[in-house]
Symmetry: C2
Subunit: 234 residues, 2 copies
């Protein structure tokens, strides 16, 4: 198909397609002659993935390239997932680049307590208690420690015992995640689905938690307000 | 205490304190005389909360003001939590300013399946299946529908049955969340903790899921690579 058809099929404008091509996100099409380029189904699929990663996953072009490179490299699924995991941002202290710094005002140094060993030790103890196998290069250890330190600074300290029930539910959720990947044999399709899972399915999990919190708030309110033993739902 | 002491105690610079005061986030101190203002413990606590909401929660100044207003209003905890829930952003279709609107627009037609009623109906069916009580004004319904539509556009369609196990785990997580609030009697402290929980604890839950996914990936790889029945952990 020509670029106009590719645009129609993918829902991405011609200008944006050219931009992605210049940025190296989208492979070249097949040159039919000096002025006409033919694109295939793989370009449609790739464009949708790029668009989703950037618009919905919130990834930068550079990060998107990193993820696409991992998807394209002849790694096994295990390694591909490792790269994807490390590339995808998790909103925490350092994610909001622009927003965080500007909004925080003139400067924001002067932490009263250097977060560090206390929270890092808690993260290690949690990982050990769970029997989790986590690579040394994982950024999530230090990100979790940073999140716990941030909570500590507003007076919300979490012990390993506080976190364990959450960690157990996280394991159950991760098992559901991998069940989604189990039927997929094609390596590229598997990697792409893993990207989608990590980048696009995460908001679903968060929104389900928000809905469940609203319901939990209602149930709690209902119990307190009416003195009855519970809501009719079940 | 004077502003210099407030700065030291809160870890927020004097310039930033003045910025927050100008923006109406921090209440005025008590004027001792025309050049000296006295601040109290409530200012220290408030500053830490503001800083956390902006830097870690990723909230804009306007959103932060909205949340603080809710915390200050004489609402009961139930209503306060409702406001907090609706104010706190969840990365999804509409978070990335620029991306969201394009995606939802008529742009998306010409795709084989127009997202819309299909996903909204799925969200309603899910809420009904779970017996969740969700207010009509909740933004999370449409955000969830938008997330599901986005997944559908990259070929990842989720049925109500696919989502139910996730929703059940979300309920368990929400129950843990509310257990954290149960011991707190003071209304302001309760609301503040709820803000912290929604804004700052959410990354912890996401990071635990990431760590659990890495472990699940290891376990899966180990099983495939070695042909053994399972990892030693557990």
């Amino acid at each position: 198909m020509r670029i106009s058809e590719l645009s129609r099929r993918s829902g991405v404008s011609v200008a944006t397609i050219k931009y992605y091509r210049r940025e190296g996100l989208l492979p070249e099409g097949r040159a039919l002659n000096p002025t006409a380029v033919e694109y295939g189904e793989e370009h449609v699929q790739r464009l949708r993935l790029i668009r989703s990663l950037i618009q919905l996953g919130g990834l930068s072009v550079a990060r998107t390239r990193e993820v696409l490179d991992a998807v394209d490299r002849p790694l096994d699924a295990f390694e591909t997932l490792g790269v994807v995991h490390h590339a995808l941002p998790v909103p925490s202290a350092d994610t909001n680049g622009e927003g965080g710094k500007d909004d925080a005002g003139p400067d924001a140094d002067g932490d009263e307590a250097a977060p560090g060993e206390g929270v890092a030790a808690r993260v290690e103890a949690l990982i050990e208690s769970m029997g989790w196998q986590i690579s040394d290069g994982s950024p999530h250890r230090s990100e979790l420690a940073a999140s716990l330190a941030a909570l500590g600074r507003v007076g919300a300290d979490y012990t390993v015992d506080d976190l364990l029930p959450y960690a157990r539910l996280a394991t159950s959720t991760a098992d559901l995640d991998f069940a989604q990947l189990d039927g997929i044999e094609d390596r590229i399709a598997l990697a792409e689905r893993a990207v989608v899972l990590a980048a696009l399915f995460e908001p679903v999990v968060r929104l389900l938690r928000r809905l469940a919190q609203e319901d939990a708030n209602h149930r709690r309110h209902h119990r307190r307000a009416s003195g009855r033993s519970g809501p009719p739902a079940g």
